[in-house]
């Protein structure tokens, strides 16, 4: 009995140390959005969003389909630039740098802000090449030995190394769904980003693969700023420390995940998370 008490307090201490910086105002935000509006043609998709996203932690975006959460996620690495009718106003900064500044190199931005999608989308290349691709085009390694190191450490961080180390030359598309998703995470990590965006990363995975990806997210949050869009309330509650609820293009409420899932302030948040939206 006594041992378990000691262990528990140790876990609590570690968790407190890991999340101390997430207390509002403790440290400047990694990502800062001020009055962000997004229009698709005439459609006003995102309305005056203000939010601060802390570093080294997981923030979850939740909300019904079409609420603007994915739209906002895609603003953070300027993926919306690829949509002709899309217009973004307001200001988004990463480490105090305006990412919509004209002088900013979008390719460099996307190297700093990695993205993992709903459906695993490995390149039709070998497992090794899937991970090596990013570092190679960004010129991050000088020789084959360095590249081998990057591939290995990225696959290790993505908790995939042990499963694939003997078949690095096999095709990435031959892996199971869960392995493919972790390969995509390894690919995102390989270019050493600051921020990882995840758009429903587990919705195409079975419960075991989901558990592995969630464990991975929990480990990665010590070193990265992770932003995850998810339709699973339970997943948001499990993996994130802060949660933002979007509804009809508005950011309704943003708070610690504990507060959002135990006692949210806004009735709309409460109705949504408890399954009462009609």
């Amino acid at each position: 009995m006594e041992n378990s008490t000691v262990d528990l307090s140790a876990i609590e201490r570690v968790e407190a140390a890991r999340t101390a910086h997430l207390t509002a105002g403790a440290k400047p935000a990694k990502v800062l959005a001020r009055d962000v509006n997004v229009y698709y043609g005439d459609k006003h998709a995102l309305k005056a969003v203000n939010v601060e996203i802390p570093d080294r932690g997981v923030m979850a975006f939740i909300g019904p389909s079409g609420c603007g959460k994915s739209t906002f996620l895609r603003c953070i690495n300027r993926m919306n630039d690829t949509i002709a009718s899309c217009r973004v106003t307001g200001k988004i900064t990463i480490d105090d740098q305006d990412i919509y500044d004209r002088s900013l190199d979008v390719v460099q931005l996307r190297a700093r802000v990695g993205m993992v999608f709903q459906k695993p989308n490995p390149f039709p290349k070998s497992i090794y090449e899937n991970v090596a691709y990013g570092p190679r085009i960004h010129g991050l390694t000088a020789n084959k030995a360095e590249m081998d190191d990057v591939v290995q450490s990225s696959l290790e961080k993505a908790a995939l190394w042990n499963e694939v180390k003997d078949r690095l030359q096999d095709s990435g598309t031959g892996l199971s769904g869960g392995q493919q998703q972790r390969l995509c995470i390894a690919r995102a990590i390989a270019v050493n980003p600051d921020i990882i965006l995840m758009d429903e990363p587990c919705s195409a995975l079975d419960p075991i693969a989901t558990a592995k990806v969630e464990t991975l997210i929990d480990e990665l949050r010590s070193n990265f700023c992770i932003i995850i869009v998810t339709h699973s309330m339970q997943q948001a509650a499990r993996v994130s420390q802060r949660t933002a609820f979007f509804h009809l293009g508005t950011l309704v409420e943003e708070d610690s995940t504990k507060t959002i899932f135990s006692n949210p302030k806004d009735q709309r948040t409460q109705d949504y998370i408890t399954g009462r939206f009609g």
Binding site: Q234, A237, F261, S262, N263, Q270, I273, T274, G275, G278
Partner: protein, 238 residues
């Protein structure tokens, strides 16, 4: 509040409310039976009180099973989670109230042959009526999700404590007057203590109603006035 999109979830929550209301009704009835049994030294009434307690125990088991199934099936959060968890805790308090009432009723068998000093019974009845009213109010507060009503119950338990203190002293006095009263008075003392404990359980329920509605625990210290644990009456030397 809006209803759940999943109708069966809504139905389950309503069933939970019906179960706890039924348990509350049984506990109220049992307390009346218990006092009646003690007052009239009526073994028949005492027997029916024992049977009523078994019903409460059965209801608690059913409610507990439902709660476990709902947690597994629905994975409730926010106000739903508070709803389910507080109902489970309140069921525990009601079950204890049932046990304590049954214990009062059983004392009717023990004191069947004894004569009652009338003023003693008046005090017991008065105290029980206070606790009965408290229990009724707190069950209303639960059904209506009425925080103000719950807080009223929470604050007025002090009066029950005060009543218990005076009854305690009175019983000690009777015992000193005539040692033949000791057997009867001891049973009354335990009965009074049980009623005071029932009062404490009603304040627990009030705290849970507050938490259910507001999401906040009551952090103030509850006003308490039970001084019997430090009361001593010394027998004068003759």
């Amino acid at each position: 509040m809006n209803e759940h999109i999943v109708k069966s979830y809504e139905d389950e929550l309503k069933l939970l409310d019906r179960r706890i209301a039924q348990m509350g009704g049984c506990a109220e009835k049992l307390l009346v039976q218990a006092l009646g049994a003690l007052e009239r030294r009526d073994p028949k009434l005492a027997e029916s009180a024992v049977a009523s307690d078994a019903t409460i125990d059965q209801l608690e088991r059913e409610l507990q099973e439902q709660v476990i199934e709902m947690i597994a099936k629905r994975q409730p959060i926010a106000n739903d989670l508070r709803h389910i968890m507080t109902v489970l805790k309140i069921a525990g308090d009601l079950e204890r109230i049932g046990d304590l009432s049954k214990n009062i009723a059983k004392r009717a068998f023990a004191i069947a042959g004894e004569s009652h000093p009338k003023p003693l019974m008046t005090g017991m009845r008065h105290m029980t009526e206070m606790v009965q009213a408290q229990l009724k109010h707190v069950l209303d507060a639960l059904a209506e999700r009425n925080v103000e009503k719950a807080l009223q119950v929470w604050r007025s338990d002090q009066q029950v404590d005060a009543m218990y203190n005076s009854l305690f002293r009175e019983l000690l006095t009777y015992m000193m007057e005539d040692p033949r009263n000791i057997g009867l008075c001891t049973h009354f003392l335990f009965g009074a203590k049980n009623i005071e404990r029932i009062g404490d359980h009603t304040t627990n329920i009030a705290e849970n109603v507050h938490y259910l509605v507001t999401g906040q625990a009551i952090t103030d210290d509850r006003p308490k006035d039970d001084q019997t644990s430090s009361t001593l009456i010394t027998v004068p030397h003759s």
